[in-house]
Structures are given as structure tokens and as C-alpha cells.
Symmetry: C2
DNA sequence: TTGAAAGCGTTACCAT
DNA sequence: ATGGTAACGCTTTCAA
């Protein structure tokens, strides 16, 4: 069936009794054409089952109608959702997505940047790998998503705001003893989310001391280890803020294992609202990022960039999803009074 | 910087003082060339920073060195891992991956099949959407992964075997009262995994009755609902087999919520060994699929198919990862004697 | 061993 | 309103 050689525009032209130019015109309605001719051409296209050659189009126009997407780790549940949304959004605009996974490795990311660019993608969307040195470059326009990289145009949600509402939620519940699972440090500091959290807490008069901040990667395992570590070296916190849901869920498993009840003894807030977060026990209070909106902005910006200079979009807002992992600090269990309202704080021992 | 127009092979040829043909020959070492010339060409390539135009190559050779990958749902944690492995495996062979998500919708899948084929991918790898009617077709060679679709060449792990070892594990622990979360029914029946489970149980003399088999999709939510449903309508089982980890983890949350201890009162086994399974509480005993191996086979088969007729590879083996969610039936809690060794079975009531 | 030149299937300019 | 035709950048046959 599919062994017969390709049907070309010339075939269609012949069948319709017109020139290839005319066929091209009607196909792309790039120039006015008599209704009669139009109909003949369309009929011919139908009859022959003509499909334009993408390669030829790309060669001729210099546009591949493909975009590259470089993700740090498809195994981190936040990214599949993002990738899904980007793919969908791209498709509705006629773009296909070339996917690459950098495994959070800047070197591999660099390789991807090169190969995808050479492959002729019109634009590259990249969620920069964690160790990315500030200069992200390629031979095609670049858009950063979610994480900043130098002055690459960035589409992201307002993570600082997200961190703020997470912290504020816990403050509102009366918590005063905080610990933080910070994820990896970026640019020699802590990420925006955590910055938002810490800033809010400081302004509220309950700064988090260094020993209560655990830096690591974003993995489930890191969440476990981080929670264990915090429990051992700096117990007494009643609220735990995690830089993402993966960390939070890892922490949840460690806490539970250590016999700490959530939210009874420790309230826990995550970030991202990945699917699992709704179904953990307890379900996870978390900051939701609007991946759909991010995807839309990214594609928008990308396509603009392909044609004209771009305008940086506003950060996407985040919202707090309050679920079962957070509770007022006045719940059964040792109640360490906040340092401000009440001195004489007594650490919470595991059990 | 990148505004200067493309460096073509002609530029290189001129710089090296040779013809484009020669340049092509050295670049693809497709024909013998004098070392001297070779060196000159290479130098010119370096000097000019020449990058071949992929579009031109594709047009000329009819090969895009790209493959399409259609995934049913990137949000299901099993697939990102598979996609990652496929992308990696493809890349090492010089292939790029065009990703599409069918959202488990046959219609959308069909659309993808069309667009990707027209986009000129050399071959399409597809994990068929659940409702896929048996005839999966496209204008390019097709490889099915993980799920069968008509007589499309299939790469998959031996799911029946996986189901067998899962069931056998529970039998070995002494369980006799089984329930099954079966996932969606395919081709008017239950999937291979479940078939493997049920077959094994039947052969052991402990057939599972209809009311103990819950069909649904593969989601976390379905796992929850399924477990709840089974608990209400057909309590008394001590062992629960799930068609995948997502279902199992959903079930775990429902069981826990219902006050049923795992593995104390009910042993639970999943399928896939997704990352979360190691970190749930309790951790999940599950059947691991070797995605790496599947990816390798798929790419191998795909590339063969692009050139010559293919030979179907053997199903990839699965292995059981025993973790914390399974225990001998002789654990604290009501002990329903197996029907064969011991009649007079007493159902387990929740609590 | 190297080069000239004919395409691959489109698009788009320039005529008509 | 249409058609002829020259590119687009590469591979590959055929000659030299």
C-alpha cells in the first residue's frame, strides 16, 4: 500500500490541469484564485491523497514548524504535566515537539542544545538543568521555562509569591517553628520559592535558622533524608515547608515512619500540586503552578520570537491548595510556643 | 550574531578549494578521498563552523532521522520513564524523538499518527491508547510498545509472566482470598497482566470470583474507588492484586483510610515499579518492568524496520520487587482459611 | 580521486 | 488570475 512513491505537487497540478504554483497558492491561500480552479485543485488533492512534504517545505521556507523542548528530568512528576501542556499547546499552533531530557546535566543539556538547533527546530524551550551556568546559548531562539538562566527570556510562575502564600498559610495557622526542605541551591543561593518562604517568615518575625534549612536535590529520596536529618539535628519544628511536592511527599513518608503525625505534630506544605499530592495520606497542602498557563505563554513567546522580537510575559500566578497536611498549631501533641508570642520553647522529640 | 545567513556546503567547498561532492564525501565518508583533501575540507568545516542542513538532507535522502513517539498519558508515571529511555536510546543512534500525547484517546491518537507521519518521521513508536481499535495504521512503519494493537509488531514485557509471579508471591505467603484491580478491559477482556494473575490463581485452585475483580482505568483515583468498592461489596479478601502501581497506590490510600492495615490485614501487589512505589508507606511490593530493555528493543526494531523487514523480539522479562506491602496471611487480624486447605471461610470485615 | 550536474518537493518571484 | 522557473542545501550518479 505505502510502497508507491510519493505524490508530489506536480502530480496534483497535472491532475487539476494547473501549474504547481497555483496548487501552492490554493493550499496556502497565499494568493487569490478562481473558485473554479480552487475547486479543481482541492478535488485533485483529495483524489490523489496528496500530502505536502514537510522536508521540502522546511528546506524552502527555512521553517520546520518544530520546536525543541529540553526537560531536566521527565521522572520528576511536575515536568510530564508541563510537557503535556506544551505539546498540546504547540500542536494547536501547528508545531511539533522534539523532546530531550537533560537528566539535569548541563553537559548533556548543551549537547541537546546543539543537536536540536542543528536539527532545525525553529525555537528551543528549555527548563534549564540545575547546574546550568548562566549563559544558555544555541543557534536558535531560546526560551527558558520555570527556571531562570542568565538573561534568556523566561516564562515562569511567580515562585516567590508561591513561597509567600505557603508560608503565610502556616503562619495563619499559628505556626512559629519552621523548617524548610530547600531543594538545590541556585546561583549560590536558595531558589525563589524558598526565598519567598523565608522572606515572609522573616517579615513575620520568625526567621528560620540555618540548621532548619536542608538543601538537596528535588527527589523523593532527598525529601526523606532531609526530613530525617532535620528531625535529628533540629527537632522542634511544627511546620515544614518543602520546595516541591516530591520533597514534601518524601518527607511525609519519613515523618510517618518516625511516628510523627501529619498534620497533628507537623504541618507540611509542598509546591507544584502534582497528581499524587491529592492522594497521599494525608493529602498534601500545596502551592499549585498553572502549567497550562505557563505552556501557553511559552508557546506564545516562542512563536513571537520566531518572527519578531519578544515581550516578556508576566509571571503566572500560583494558588494555594489547602488539603489535609496542614492544621492549626493548637492540635493535640506538644505545642512549642512561638518565640515571639511566647519564649521557653521545648523541642519536639520523635515518638 | 546568528543573523548571518546559513553556511552551506558550497561555502565549505569554496573555502577548501574542492567541489561540494567532495565535501559530502568526506563528511559522510561515503567515498575514498585523499588525506590532504580530507584535511582541507575538515579545516574549512571547522573554520566556517559549518552545520549541515537537516531539512536538505531529509529532502534529499528521504530520511528524517526522527521518530515519533505517541504516549497515552505522560501523567501516568510509568510512561515518563519509558519515554526517557526511548529518547536516550534513540539519541545514541542519532535519532530525535517527536513526542505526542494521545490522552488515551483513539481519535487524538489517530490525528497524531497522521501528523507525525506527514511530518516525515521515519518510524512511529506508539503505546496504543486504551480504546484503540485493532487496526493501527499510518503511512510510516509502526511499532507498538507495551500494549498490543492488532498485528502491529509489538515490544513488550512479558506481562502474563509478571502477573504470574505477582500472584504466586501471594500464594506463597499463604493467601487464598484474592481481589483484583484490573484496570481497563481490552478487546472485550481483561489485560494480560490480570490474565496472568487469574490464571495462576485458578491453577492453584483459588479462582477469583467476578465480584472481586474491579475494572476501571489506570488512575490513582480508580485505585481508590476500586478498593473502596471491593471493600464494600466483597470484603474478606486478604490479598489485593493491582494491574499497575498507580492503582495499587490509590488502593493503598483507600485501605489506609478505611482503617485496613497493609500488609497486616491485606497484602498488596502492584505492577511497574514506578519511583513512588519504593517510598509509599508501606513501600509497595511490585512487578518491575525493564523499560530500558523495552526501549532498546523498540529502537532496534524500529531502525531495522526502516531499512529491512523486522523480526519480532522476545518479550522482556519482569521481576518481582518484594517490599513492605505484602506479608504472610498468618499476620494479626482475621485469618480466612483458604478454600482448598480449609473450608469454612469467614470474610474479613473492615476495621 | 575528484567534479559537474541532476534532482529531492516546495515556495515565491516575475512574467503573462 | 495563472504559469514558468529559479532557488533552498544536500546526495549521488556519471564522467573525467
Amino acid at each position: 500500500m505505502q510502497t508507491r512513491s510519493r505524490i508530489t505537487m506536480a502530480d496534483v497540478a497535472r491532475e487539476a490541469g494547473v501549474s504547481t504554483a497555483t496548487v501552492s497558492f490554493v493550499l496556502n491561500n497565499t494568493k487569490a484564485v478562481t473558485p473554479a480552479v480552487q475547486a479543481r485543485v482541492e478535488a485533485a488533492v483529495q483524489a490523489l491523497g496528496y500530502r505536502p512534504s514537510h522536508a521540502a517545505q522546511a528546506l524552502r521556507t527555512g521553517r520546520s514548524l518544530a520546536l525543541g523542548l529540553i526537560i531536566p528530568d521527565l521522572t520528576n512528576p511536575f515536568f510530564p504535566k508541563l510537557a503535556q501542556d506544551i505539546e498540546q499547546e504547540a500542536r494547536t499552533r501547528g508545531y511539533a515537539v522534539l523532546l530531550a531530557d537533560s537528566h539535569d546535566d548541563p553537559a548533556l543539556q548543551q549537547e541537546h542544545l546543539g543537536t536540536l538547533a542543528q536539527r532545525g527546530v525553529d525555537v528551543l524551550l528549555v527548563v534549564p538543568a540545575v547546574g546550568t551556568d548562566d549563559t544558555l546559548t544555541a543557534d536558535v531562539p531560546l526560551i527558558a521555562i520555570d527556571r531562570a538562566a542568565g538573561d534568556t527570556p523566561l516564562v515562569h510562575s511567580d515562585k516567590r509569591q508561591g513561597g509567600q502564600i505557603a508560608a503565610q498559610h502556616l503562619l495563619d495557622l499559628g505556626h512559629r517553628e519552621f523548617a524548610v526542605l530547600a531543594g538545590p541551591s541556585r546561583h549560590g543561593g536558595v531558589g525563589e520559592r524558598v526565598r519567598g518562604m523565608l522572606g515572609t517568615l522573616e517579615r513575620a518575625g520568625v526567621p528560620v535558622r540555618k540548621g532548619r534549612i536542608y538543601e538537596s536535590d528535588y527527589s523523593l529520596l532527598a525529601g526523606r533524608e532531609g526530613a530525617r536529618h532535620l528531625l535529628q539535628t533540629a527537632p522542634g519544628f511544627t511546620a515544614l515547608l518543602a520546595a516541591n511536592d516530591t520533597l514534601a511527599l518524601g518527607a511525609l513518608s519519613a515523618l510517618t515512619e518516625a511516628g510523627i503525625t501529619v498534620p497533628g505534630q507537623v504541618s507540611l506544605v509542598g509546591f507544584d500540586d502534582i497528581p499524587w499530592s491529592a492522594l497521599s495520606a494525608p493529602s498534601l497542602t500545596t502551592v499549585r503552578q498553572d502549567t497550562r498557563q505557563m505552556a501557553r505563554q511559552a508557546i506564545e513567546l516562542a512563536l513571537q520570537t520566531v518572527n519578531a522580537p519578544q515581550v516578556a510575559p508576566l509571571p503566572v500566578g500560583t494558588t494555594l491548595t489547602v488539603r489535609g497536611s496542614t492544621a492549626p498549631v493548637t492540635t493535640p501533641g506538644p505545642l512549642p510556643p512561638g518565640p515571639l508570642p511566647d519564649p521557653g520553647h521545648r523541642p519536639l522529640e520523635n515518638a
